[in-house]
Structures are given as C-alpha cells and as structure tokens.
Point group: C4
Chain length 231, copies 4
C-alpha cells in the first residue's frame, strides 16, 4: 500500500539527521496521497539507524491507522488536522532544529531580514501562541494543528507562500508540495533563524528587507514568472 | 566478570565523541550491576582510539578496584557516592560538553524554556554550589557526589525526574536507568543548554514553559500513561 | 569548448559545500577565459550530487549562452557585469554563507580586526547599499553588478586588494585570479565575519588592527616583496 | 636527518585540520631536538592534502635552514626565539583557531572560569600587546617571539604552567613537551575560549574559579602528586 510514498517519507526522514536538524528520534516527516485520502508517517520513537521504509505507517485524515504494525508518530493528529484543512499541503515536517526552536522559545516571529529568507518564505514566519490548559486537556496534538490554522487565518497568511510556523516554547513545523520540499523548508527555516538572530545581535537597528527585494527574490523562484532553476 | 556490562559501558563511552560531547578523554561513563553491588567504569586518561571493552574497570561501592589492570577514572568516587545513595540509578555520565559547561561556568540553573527540555527533564536542571576548601581537601571527588545529593535533597527534586546536574565552574553529570540513557540525557542537556542560552539572548523576557505544557510533554513520554514510542 | 575551465569551475563549485559555505544549490562559481572573452558558470538550481563538469554553461560578456543545454545561474548577469568592467578578475563566487550573510543583513562593513583578515583583504570589506525599486525593475542581477562597481569606485577601493563585497540584506560576492582563489576568499570572508562578530560581542571597545600590522600581514603574502609560501 | 621528529611534526600538523583548528594552511607546528640544537617545522603555504613528512624543514636556533628543499613556515623566527629562550619547550603550535583568535582580537586575557581550563592551564592565558612600528620594521616574526617572552617575564608566569599566549589582533601560540602536547594545548585553549565567551555572555557576573579548585584540578593532572591517567 502506497509503497512509493513510504519510500519517499522514509528517505525524507533520513534527511533530517543528515541535515543536522535532529538528534535521536526528535522529528517526523509525513506525506499525503490525495487520491486515497491517506497519509504516510514515521513510526514513533524508532531509531533512525534501524528504521526501514516498510516501518512507515499509513493513516487516514482522522488519525486512524490503516496499515502498519507500529504506532505512528505521537504528533500524527497535528499532521492529520493540517492535511484535512489545507488541500494544497503534500508533505509535513516537525523537528526541534536548534535555531528555529530558539526563536520558538523566544516566542517571536522570524522577520524577513535577507534574501535567503525571501527565496523561500514570502513574509515573516509566525510564532503561534501557547495552547491553553483546556486545549491541552482536550487533545494536545490536534489542538496544535488547530492553533496553526488559527494563526494563519487570523493573520491572513497564505499557507503555501509561508510554508512554516513556530509553536511557542516548542519548535517548528514546515510543509510543502511533498515530503522532500517540506524538509528543504525546514533547512531554510533553521538557517534563516540562525542568520537573523546574529544579524540582530550585531546590529540592533538592522532593517527588514525592503518589499521590492522580497518580491523580486520570492517571485523569481515561485509563481508563473519564475526564472530560477531548469524549466 | 560483568562482560556484557563492560561492553555496554565501552559502547556508551564511544558514543560521547560521536555525539560531539567530548574532546580527547574528557569524559567518563559507568554502569551499575545491582545484583553484585559492583559498577563498571572507563579507565583514566586512556585514548578513545585504542580503548577496548576489556579495559573497563570493575569497582565496588566504596570505590575499590575489584577487577582490571588499569586505574579507573579519577572521578570514580563521585560515581560510587551516587550509586550508593540512589538505588534507582543504573548509569552515570560526566562530560565537559560545551553548552552545559557554559551554564555551569555561569553558575546558573538551566530553566525549562521549551518542550525539548520537558521531554526529558521534569523541571530546571540545578547548578550545585562550589565545594569549600575543606571539602576539597578531605576528598574532592567524593565531595562532588555529596554536593549533588545535597542539591537534590535541599530542593526536593526527584533524582530520576531531573536526571542531571551542573557542578558550578565545572560541568554536567547526568544519569539514567542504564549507561545508554545516561548518555542520551547528556545529549539533551547540552542541546537545551545551547537553545536556552540563545533564546534568552534573543529575548531577555522569554517566558518559561507553562506548567501544563511541561506536564504534557514529560508525561506523554514518562510514567504509566506515556504514549510515545513503541510499547 | 573550454573543457579545462569547465572542470575548474565544476571543482570550485563542489568546494562550496565541502567548505560549509552553502546548503543545497545556494551558490555559484564562474571563471573567465580572457582570450575568447567567454566565461563558464554553474547551471541554475542543479543538485550538487548529480551535477557534472559538462553541465557547466559557457556565456559571453553580455550574458548570452554560447554553449550548454542548461540555463546558467540566475545570477549570471552579475558575473558578466563584473568581468566586463574589471579585466583583472578571473573567477567569481556568490554564496549565502552564514557569517558573511549575517554582516550583510546587519548592513555593516566588516572591519579589519585581525591578521586573518589582513592576510587576504587589505582593508574593510564594504557593504553595498540596497538597490532602488527602479534598479530592481530594470534588471535586478545586472544592477547588482553595477552597485558593486559603484561601491568600489565611490570609496576608491582596489578591487584586487579587497576581493569581496557584501550586498545589503543578501550576501557576499568574492573574486580572484581564478575560480579556486575566489572560493578561498569566500572561506576567509566567512571566517573573519564570524571572528569579528564575536570579538565585538566580547569587547565592544575592541580596536581595529593598527595600519602597520595590516601592511605587514597583507604585504608579506601579496605583491613583489611577499615571502609567504613557496616561490 | 631527524626522520622520527619529522614524522611527529608532520602528524601533529595533520591533527590541526582534524581538530577543526585551521582552514587551508593557516597553522604551523614544530618540534625541537635538544641534542642537536635543531628543530623541525612545516614548510610555508603547502597544502595539507599533498604535504609529506619529508617536506618538513630542519632549522637551527638562529632560523637558518639546515636541511630541506622547501621554505620553512614564515613564522619560523618566532619558533626559534622561543626554543632558544626556553629550554623546557619541546613543541610549538601556531593557529588562527576561531575562538582563541576572537579573544586575541578582543585584546583580552582568557580568565580561568572553569575546570576545563584548570586541567591544562594554571592561570589566565595572557594576551600580549601589539608590536610597535619599530618592532615590525626590524623583524616582525622574531619580535613576535620576544613580545611573548616579555609578557611572561613581566607578569612572572611560568611558561610550562600556562603553555599558551594570545597575540593581540592575531591569534594563539601554544607549546608543550612535544608537538603532540602542544597541539592538545591548542585544542583546549580554543575550547575554553569558546566556553568562557558564552559564560560571560550568559552571566556578566560569572565568577572566576576559586583558587582551591584551580589548584585541585591542575595538580591532580600535573606535578609529582598527579593521579590522573595511567602511571
């Protein structure tokens, strides 16, 4: 069942330690198959050294396991809520990558301070609020998905133009068309989190990128007039 | 004698440089065999490149060598004091890992600022006081174990819920059910030390994690209602 | 066509990830053949893992592709403008390397604070201004080349004595006699950016290097009286 | 001639990039043979990838090449001055390692803030003054050696108890009984430079290590009552 997608999700999970985004099992990647309405996700707490593609778990949009002998990631309900609400999302990544997590712990949005950011994220990366005790009690992981939706809707942010979020006191989620691009967005988010922290440290009055340069960099890589990469 | 435990302790020691926690021989791991009342520890100052499992030294709870041709780690009395006082501890690690040592040198407890911390440590990681001259003179390494006990008892901290401590001006000790989990706790401690330093640097007013989220993260991984990982 | 130069440019591009200067495809190296008036540059957005020397693109000084089946780097017009204006330049590198980009985002020149800097750059590395909206609209990449020329001419800096620049809010360009030395200059720029940031952080009153030591270090490696390296 | 010492010096030079202390050829290691009054040093500006043990150059205490087809390191006169003045020194290392160089650029002594420092250096690591223009003109590299001697003599520091120095605006020199221990001292100096910078950053009021703990840590590893390591 969904063997190719399992392989993609497996490979995308392996990319996390290779890119220095996680230690041990502190991360999870999933990918969606819109045709069947099912998604594939990493099992919970399994060592990356022994994990196999066939260990990936198939889950429906209510978070029920459809195939697989292992428990899916404990964050599965967050992934399910996002796939259900946003039909454009094809892959999701959660990590505790160092520099993005630092911004999450600081409780701050990551502002657009450079073109490295603008090449991938068309605006600040928002930091979602803490969950309330009631939300935690009712179902922490699903509530995490809901607070992401709330953040993007209240602020009117296009989910695919800014494919990432920080959860306050926790860490980042990123997404994309597929598992691979979602991982790439996590790499970019961590790197710009590092750059922006030290740029602000070096010059407290450092300006944000002018809108014209943000437009130029984002739009030369994304959308119908893009001219970056091979056709 | 205790051949399997020697192999475990040897492997756990090798994990220290692999995880970037030590340079040269600046660390030591031990593990306890409760049945015999003996523990196994790394020899002192031996290069990790030439060290073998059979070089591990067997020691009793008074710190006397029971088997082995090499001198045990100079920190052996600290390990002995902790194993003797806390029957729950199965493995102990000492390093001078960069970021935890920075907090130790700053003389500060590591506060709970995120879920990376909460997943492993159920509260702040305490920084123990400097030893007095009299304690140093009477036996530095044993006194180090005693000041750890004093710190946890005076503050009423559960040793297994917060499996680590900073020694002021020195560096961290961590422990766990076995050598492997003690090493993992050292990795987590170093990483949260790094994250928390820069989160505070980025936002001097960054809040500590709310109690409800600390409870949720710690308890979904630990205790009878845990649902993280495979059963 | 220009097969040896393609190989040099290919190898210089591979050196970028090896030196930790780039992630994914965020960088490009080119090299000039003054005899034919053509230069060779990396194709746009191609993975470094699958890229071959024969994928390098040959371009003329107006930025037209002369040979190659792939699109050249989207930054090709910047390279063309620089090669056209400065006949001394033989190789050019663009990256978003972490520490140089941090200074670019901070909008500050990198001052000469040590001999590591003085060994390669004979003065501060200037940070060019933001492009105006009109410049962006008329041709962003060519305008980027022009603002580099403007910066060096207005300040009267010798392009080969200070072989690098920061683009505000963007990142560094470096150059040299050939592709290899241009890469080396990128490595030095990133390292001195890191050192100078933390030196200033540690001591806000840290002095710049005295002119006599700057002269000594630069001139013992460069110019007719150099005595560093083998003859 | 001195074939074994050449091999030791060659291996010690290779250890510099492995320990992350240098990029390219920015470092040099030498070692002294007291019997012949000659020392062996790395050639100047030779790539570590192609360098061979037989490329090492034999030099006398006035800095004259006695054997070898390549030019010795441009810092050779500094090494010669130190070997001539201090008969205890058996090996010398110069690098521009990141964190030690940051303290050198900040122009500050590295204070003893932890036991990682105390295990190797029995006191602050001094930062020598800038050279005067006259000193630079008369012979920069020999003057560098002389300012190191001046620093240790004026402050009354034992050269073997504090086996390292920072040159203001430049970087560190370390030494030891042989090339290998001199390299190890460079590793320790860089690591404590990093730790102490961030400890001070985290807590501006962080205390220096009490004298009693400094004594304990230094003396359990050095001198006649040492009990660290194997006998």
């Amino acid at each position: 069942m969904l063997e190719q997608l399992k392989e993609e999700v497996f490979q995308a999970n392996l990319e996390l330690p290779r890119q220095g985004l996680i230690k041990y099992t502190w991360g999870n990647v999933s990918a969606m198959d819109r045709e069947s309405g099912l998604f594939v996700i990493k099992p919970s707490g399994v060592s990356y050294e022994t994990m196999k593609a066939s260990d990936m778990v198939v889950v429906d949009l209510d978070g029920n396991v459809v195939e697989g002998e292992m428990r899916p990631s404990s964050d599965t309900p967050t992934h399910a809520v996002l796939y259900k609400h946003y039909s454009e999302i094809g892959g999701i990544v959660h990590t505790h990558s160092t520099w993005a997590t630092i911004w999450a712990q600081a409780g701050l949005d990551v502002p657009v301070m450079g073109t490295t950011h603008a090449d991938t994220f068309y605006g600040s990366i928002p930091c979602a609020r803490f969950l309330t005790q009631e939300e935690i009690d009712r179902g922490y992981e699903a509530a995490t998905g809901n607070v992401i939706i709330e953040t993007f809707e209240q602020r009117g942010i296009d989910i695919m133009a800014v494919p990432g979020v920080l959860l306050k006191g926790h860490g980042p989620f990123t997404w994309g068309n597929d598992a691979k691009s979602a991982v790439m967005n996590s790499v970019v988010l961590d790197e710009v989190s590092k750059m922006n922290l030290f740029a602000r440290d070096l010059n407290h009055f450092a300006e944000e990128l002018p809108q014209g340069i943000l437009d130029k960099h984002y739009l030369r890589k994304h959308g119908k007039d893009a001219y970056y990469g091979q056709k």
